[in-house]
């Protein structure tokens, strides 16, 4: 097993200390930061993501693997920036105003990062003003919204209209998800996509950006 396979394997196991140690070791052996990212960390999270999609692992395990990936990413980040390595795409994500449930949104955020996206997580209870502020500031490719309640999901339309009516640098794809949502609701509010679960949100993001 080479060092990149080892990194991927430790990400799958969720061993943060090993991932951090092996990432440093790989860099000291002359492996590029981009290779460590794509063939080590992302490769490992890709395995986790597939297992999750196939119902082969549990949610807390996904998050433990995400933490392991993050520990490697912290070492790589300055090097990736220096080498001008571009992410898969940039996503801003948040649970809509009035809704304090953030579990689903957090898992989507972790899986997107695991797939190589740059994710700006705005947290829970996010108003349209904040979504707009970050849409301008971060210039994302995708804006993701989550809601767990039927009383809060209706706010998504307001955010969507705010973003669509603003003059932004580029067209932002808007995707939605959460327990009470359906494809027909996404169609009704004219969102660009709906994902029924976290793993599908990654596939949806990739397909919207033709990755």
């Amino acid at each position: 097993m080479d060092i990149l396979e080892e990194i991927a394997s430790e990400v799958v196991k969720g061993d943060s200390d090993s991932v951090e140690r092996l990432t440093t070791k790989a860099l000291s052996q002359g492996v590029s930061a981009e290779e460590v990212l794509n063939k080590g960390l992302v490769e490992g999270m890709d395995v986790v993501s597939k297992r999750f999609k196939n119902n082969e692992c549990f949610i807390p395990e996904v998050l433990i693997s995400a933490k392991a990936m993050k520990s490697g990413m912290e070492t790589l980040k300055p090097l990736l920036a220096k080498a001008n390595v571009k992410p898969q795409g940039k996503v801003i994500i948040g649970t809509v105003k009035g809704d304090l449930h953030d579990i689903g949104k957090n898992i989507v955020s972790m899986l997107l990062q695991g797939a190589g996206f740059d994710v700006v997580d705005l947290g829970a209870d996010v108003g349209k003003e904040k979504f707009l502020e970050y849409a301008k500031k971060e210039n994302p490719d995708i804006l993701g919204m989550s809601a767990l309640l039927t009383t809060t999901m209706i706010y998504m339309k307001e955010v969507l209209e705010t973003i669509r009516n603003a003059s932004l640098e580029k067209e932002i794809k808007i995707i939605i998800g959460g327990a009470p949502l359906t494809q027909s609701y996404a169609d009704a509010i004219k969102a660009d996509g709906y994902a029924p679960d976290a793993a599908s949100a990654v596939d949806l993001s990739k397909s919207l950006l033709n990755k």
Partner: protein, 319 residues
């Protein structure tokens, strides 16, 4: 053929994860089909039963099943919500709660902690857990140590009334001159697949806090007895059936295959593994990030969580 009769199931296991797995299996196989207010169009009816679950060793290891809808950091925050009232400040004012579905305020209508520790009645606030501790400390064998959550004025108009209804506790003597604290919790309705486990981790933590408080008050050793968990409607929602049944054509494993394909150790964690994640999961959840993130949390609650954090940092403290 539909009998129209709700089955009554009884489960008795040593540990929480064993009880959780057994309950899912039993409700799945023996439960009846019933619609719920939360079904989305096209969802099959829920699988449902009245169930009493006994966990003989609430802190028996491994204590944590890996199947729950959150991370370990999120679970520790939920425990703080129930035991220390971390999110009581998210509850909206009574006048908004009374508006029911007309209320535009999307804050919560209750927390278990608020109802148990600060139950509002006739313009008074009653700490029912303090009452239980006092009552049991004074009369160990009392049958009156209980705390309720249901508020007949506030709860009927809301969409999400409390699932937990009542906690009841009793002390029994052991052979060594100490007490054994036994606790029952009674639930109106319960999501077995995605809520039961987290509920039980929080309620058994509260159970231990109560035992410690009684021990401190009486000067007598109090150990934990069995935890009994009684649900009128313990259900598996129709929207979860895909996860439970799997889909062989699409390569999606069923929940039961997932159990079969792993050893019990591979589908659970012990407290020692979980504890660092409870403190800080490295992803923005856990006690330290919670204290950092929730600036509006009242000082007294913050102090209680800081105390909990200091306890957790001790080697011998079991989460």
């Amino acid at each position: 053929m539909k009998s129209g009769v709700i089955p009554v199931l009884s489960i008795d296991e040593d540990t929480i994860p064993r009880a959780y797995e057994k309950a899912i299996k039993e409700v799945w196989e023996k439960g009846t089909s019933v619609r719920t207010e939360y079904d989305r169009p096209g969802d099959p009816p829920s699988r449902d039963a009245t169930v009493i679950i006994t966990v003989r060793q609430p802190f028996g290891q491994p204590r944590f099943h890996r199947s729950f809808a959150d991370g370990l950091g999120g679970l520790s925050e939920y425990v703080m919500e129930v035991v220390h009232g971390a999110h009581d400040y998210w509850v909206k004012p009574v006048e908004e709660i009374l508006k029911g579905r007309e209320s535009k305020d999307t804050r919560w209508t209750y927390t278990y902690h608020q109802r148990l520790f600060e139950y509002r009645i006739e313009d008074e606030v009653v700490n029912q857990i303090a009452y239980m501790i006092d009552r049991l400390s004074k009369t160990s064998y009392t049958r009156r140590a209980q705390a309720i959550t249901w508020n007949p004025k506030l709860d009927p108009p809301t969409d999400d009334p409390p699932c937990l209804q009542r906690i009841w506790g009793r002390l029994c003597d052991d052979d060594e001159g100490g007490y054994v604290f036994n606790m029952n919790t009674h639930w109106r309705s319960r999501d077995l697949f995605k809520a039961w486990f987290e509920n039980v981790i929080a309620l058994t933590t509260l159970m231990r806090k109560m035992a410690e408080a009684i021990s401190s008050k009486t000067g007598t050793r109090v150990r934990l007895g069995r935890y009994a968990d009684i649900s009128d409607s313990l259900h598996i929602y129709g929207s979860y059936f895909r996860e439970i049944e799997g889909d062989a054509e699409k390569g999606i494993q069923s929940f039961f295959e997932k159990l079969e394909n792993r050893t019990f150790e591979e589908r659970t964690w012990n407290s020692e593994f979980v504890k660092p994640f409870f403190i800080n999961d490295g992803l923005g959840k856990g006690l330290r990030p919670m204290l950092e993130r929730e600036k509006e949390m009242p000082q007294n609650v913050r102090k209680a969580i800081e105390k909990e954090l200091r306890l957790m940092e001790k080697d011998d403290y079991v989460v």
